[in-house]
């Protein structure tokens, strides 16, 4: 008898139908291994057995991926994007049919995402996959998707792949993050995926849908957890967050979906601004890089914090299976407690927990044995270490900043949303090197749209202009 999650004494999480087998994929071939990895819900209850693909299998994946790059570029555009739409439709049909209930419950229990939000996240992944043609056209140098295949039509340069394969580490904060690797695949780049600890599910569901729709073998391979051989062998690497493994040379890697987003609040903000800001703070259950994590307030910061806290108070902590739930749990209670301590330290140093007064709910919430943090608006000094820090739950730090220091306070932002009258700061923000996106006017809460540059365009990393003569026929 093998030592697997099935052999443990702890009962399975209700509604997951027992322990799921979540294979790795060497191309279209599922890989489970003798001693699969084990994923539990943080309380020791088994959720899934994870296929284990060792270095030799990873070597095979990388070899085959390289060979597949040309195959993908040989497929005409209609067939290629039709295949992606077909895969998207298959995944949506499985969601609609209720077939993925156990997977979604396991995803919810593993990540702490409310069930309905987890489902919506996977549904968005399918929608994104179905509109890759539009997303890639926006990134192409000539506005067409054929450039990914042909190199474009410019007489001076040819737009060519900067690598034959790309390794993508997929984080587990929210399912929609899968759009990064799906864009790479849609750009006809074979992808070598490694999933993160708490969400091995979403990438597997998409991979299965792609192969069911006829994706050429080895266009996607998938490993659960660390994949040192893929890091080493892939021509390029997409790595989430800001901490890149030491064995990755700088030119080979592009980091993605990191960063903090802020809002700059001037005079005369629209009436619905606070509701819309709260929606941005709660998008993806507060686990996205686009969440508004700080408000830079030119005027009365206390008033702004109060307005936002009232909106936060309308979104209480609810059980994960409540359809209205939007606040994530922390399967690892120690992580919750460590975050709470960071917030409590700031309060001890003089910060004001505005949501505590608005809701009467303590910061640490325990519901049915599950650990949460109450959504929090913290009024503090702009010099606080939590000002500008992104925390993995709905959390916004609010500080008054004089107009003269507002641009500097927004440096290091992925998105700066500008509300109300700020006296020409939009232009200054757009010219600030440490700001990636600036949204003002009625677009202040645009958030993430895959057609927008987001840390630049992914295509600019995956492709480069080369002088190739005699040209497109080469």
């Amino acid at each position: 008898m093998l030592t697997t999650a099935a052999g443990t004494a702890s009962p399975a999480v209700p509604g997951t139908g027992g322990t799921l087998d979540v294979p790795a994929y060497s191309g279209s071939r599922p890989v489970m291994s003798n001693r699969p990895g084990r994923l539990d819900d943080g309380a020791g209850r088994p959720l899934a057995r994870l296929g284990n693909a060792g270095r030799l299998v990873q070597f095979g994946m990388a070899q085959e991926a390289e060979k597949t790059a040309r195959v993908l570029r040989g497929i005409d555009d209609d067939a290629w994007f039709g295949l992606l739409r077909d895969a998207a439709g298959r995944l949506t049909a499985r969601l609609d049919g209720g077939e993925l209930g156990p997977w979604l419950r396991a995803l919810s229990a593993a990540t702490g995402l409310p069930l309905r939000r987890a489902e919506r996240g996977v549904r968005t992944v399918a929608e994104d996959l179905g509109r890759m043609e539009e997303i890639l056209a926006a990134q192409s140098p000539d506005g067409t998707v054929s450039a990914y295949r042909t190199g474009g039509g410019d007489p001076r340069w040819s737009w060519r792949p900067a690598g034959r394969s790309v390794h993508v580490r997929v984080p587990d904060n929210f399912p929609t993050i899968g759009i990064e690797w799906m864009q790479a695949l849609a750009a006809r780049r074979p992808v070598l995926l490694s999933t993160s600890a708490r969400d091995p599910f979403t990438a597997v569901l998409v991979t299965e849908a792609l192969y069911a729709a006829g994706l050429p073998d080895n266009a996607v391979s998938l490993v659960h957890g660390d994949a040192p051989a893929l890091r080493r062998l892939a021509d390029q690497v997409l790595w989430p967050g800001e901490e890149v493994p030491g064995d990755l040379p700088p030119g080979k890697v592009k980091t993605y979906h990191y960063g903090r987003s802020r809002a700059l609040v001037g005079d005369g903000v629209p009436k619905d601004a606070w509701e819309r800001l709260a929606r941005e703070a709660f998008a993806g259950c507060g686990r996205l890089c686009t969440n508004i994590s700080s408000l830079v307030v030119l005027g009365d910061a206390q008033e702004a914090a109060g307005q936002l806290a009232r909106e936060f108070a309308d979104r209480p902590v609810l059980p994960l299976d409540d359809p209205s739930a939007s606040v994530p749990a922390f399967p690892d209670r120690a992580v919750r407690d460590a975050l709470a301590t960071r917030v409590e330290r700031e309060i001890a140093a003089g910060a004001v927990d505005v949501t505590a007064a608005a809701t009467g709910v303590p910061l640490r919430v325990d519901l049915d044995g599950v650990a949460y943090l109450r959504p929090t608006v913290l009024l503090l000094d702009a010099g606080s270490p939590l000002f500008g820090t992104e925390l993995p739950f709905p959390f916004t730090a609010v500080a008054h900043v004089p107009r003269s220091k507002a641009v500097a306070a927004c440096a290091g932002s992925l998105i700066v949303s500008v509300l109300g009258e700020t006296g020409g700061l939009v232009r200054a923000l757009a010219e600030e090197p440490g700001v990636d996106k600036v949204f003002g006017g009625d677009d202040f809460d645009r958030g993430y749209d895959p057609r927008d540059p987001h840390e630049g365009y992914l295509a600019d990393f995956l492709f480069k202009k080369k002088a190739v003569l005699p040209g497109a026929s080469a």
Partner: protein, 369 residues
């Protein structure tokens, strides 16, 4: 070189057990450690042990204090305590083996000249069974020095008509790198190993590569497959090999080339993988090399698990120079009923998919095994 004992691989008989007990528990000429233990526990094994079953119930090490006493003695007392006085008196060669030191200071054991000769004899039998070629050079990438494997592999190569090139590695410093978080040092050390391997394969004619399983995992990504195009056999030892890795090696990296596993420990002995057959499903199954070494797979009460089930590995060594009476390894494995072409030749329980939990679960030790 002494002749082998002329004992071909076969079942362990009661005569084997009685002969071993007479040798090691003879009050005047026996083995100091086992005599002292016999007195301490009041076993009187010399009188009472007449069969393997008796040995299991009366002589076998028990988990806990008894096994710990033996392990610590093998770490801290002179190795002569574990060799019969009569064997020491013969003045034959004794190889002083050391374990890798994964669980603490290294343990010591002996491989007497006759046991060594027996091992070479049955290793040839298995290497031939797998189609490992003779008259070709070997490359050994693994621990030399005090570790038995290196010396054994040199002997395999020379006995089979080749020279053995070797790249040394020190698993103990690698363990320190892992424990002390010296990732850069670990990475540099691993690169140093592969740089040396590359030099040898570039300049020498290598027919057989012997590698630890973990390094074998990295081999194609580090060297590619072209420099090893002339390799005609792969032999590996060390930690577990997953079926998918085995399949990848046999079908993709080294198609048509035998890939052979060896399982054992520095102080007890070695066992060879059964001949590869499709019905293995690429699982690696080993044939315990009886009568020298017996491997049980037992449950938490010390009883053999049914065929097909997993349990803890227990090792018996019944040789002139060393008695190891049911040492409980950290490794776990599946007990396998003999099957296929080799079942009739080796009709005793086999061992499937052995693995070391500390390498595969939780607190993984970053290593080169």
């Amino acid at each position: 070189m002494p002749r082998p004992s002329e004992t071909v691989l076969r079942q362990i008989t009661d005569d084997d057990v009685r002969r071993t007990v007479r040798l090691h528990l003879d009050p005047r000429h026996g083995t100091p450690y086992w005599l002292e233990r016999d007195r301490r526990l009041g076993t009187n094994a010399l009188e009472k042990v007449q069969s393997f079953q008796d040995a299991v119930s009366l002589l076998g090490l028990t988990d806990g204090a008894d096994q710990m006493h033996y392990e610590e003695a093998s770490r801290r007392t002179p190795l002569e305590n574990f060799v019969p006085r009569s064997v020491l008196g013969e003045r034959g060669a004794l190889w002083a083996a050391q374990t890798g030191g994964t669980t603490g200071p290294a343990k010591h054991g002996t491989w007497g000249a006759r046991y060594w000769a027996d091992i070479l004899e049955f290793s040839d039998e298995f290497l031939d069974l797998h189609g490992v070629p003779r008259n070709t050079n070997w490359l050994f990438v693994g621990p030399m020095g005090p570790h038995t494997t290196g010396r054994l592999v040199v002997a395999f190569a020379e006995r089979r008509g080749g020279m053995c090139f070797s790249i040394d590695l020190d698993p103990r410093i690698v363990k320190i790198f892992g424990e002390e978080g010296m990732t850069a040092a670990y990475d540099r050390y691993v690169r140093h190993i592969w740089d040396q391997v590359e030099e040898v394969v570039r300049s020498q004619d290598i027919g057989v590569v012997f590698c630890t399983s973990r390094l074998l995992d990295m081999l194609p990504e580090r060297l590619g497959t072209e420099p090893l195009a002339g390799v005609r056999a792969i032999v590996h030892a060390g930690t577990t090999m997953e079926p998918d890795a085995h399949r990848e090696l046999r079908e993709e990296v080294f198609p048509g080339v035998p890939v052979v596993g060896m399982y054992g420990t520095s102080t007890t002995g070695i066992n060879w993988q059964k001949p590869f057959e499709a019905e293995d499903g690429h699982r690696v199954v080993y044939v315990p090399c009886r009568p020298h070494v017996a491997l049980d797979v037992i449950d938490e009460h010390g009883a053999e698990v049914p065929y097909g089930e997993e349990g803890r590995v227990r090792v018996w060594r019944l040789t002139d120079d060393a008695l190891v009476p049911g040492f409980l390894e950290r490794d776990r494995a599946r007990r396998v009923r003999p099957y296929g072409v080799a079942a009739e030749r080796y009709p005793w329980p086999w061992l499937g998919d052995p693995y070391s939990p500390e390498f595969t679960e939780g607190r993984r030790v970053e290593g080169v095994y």
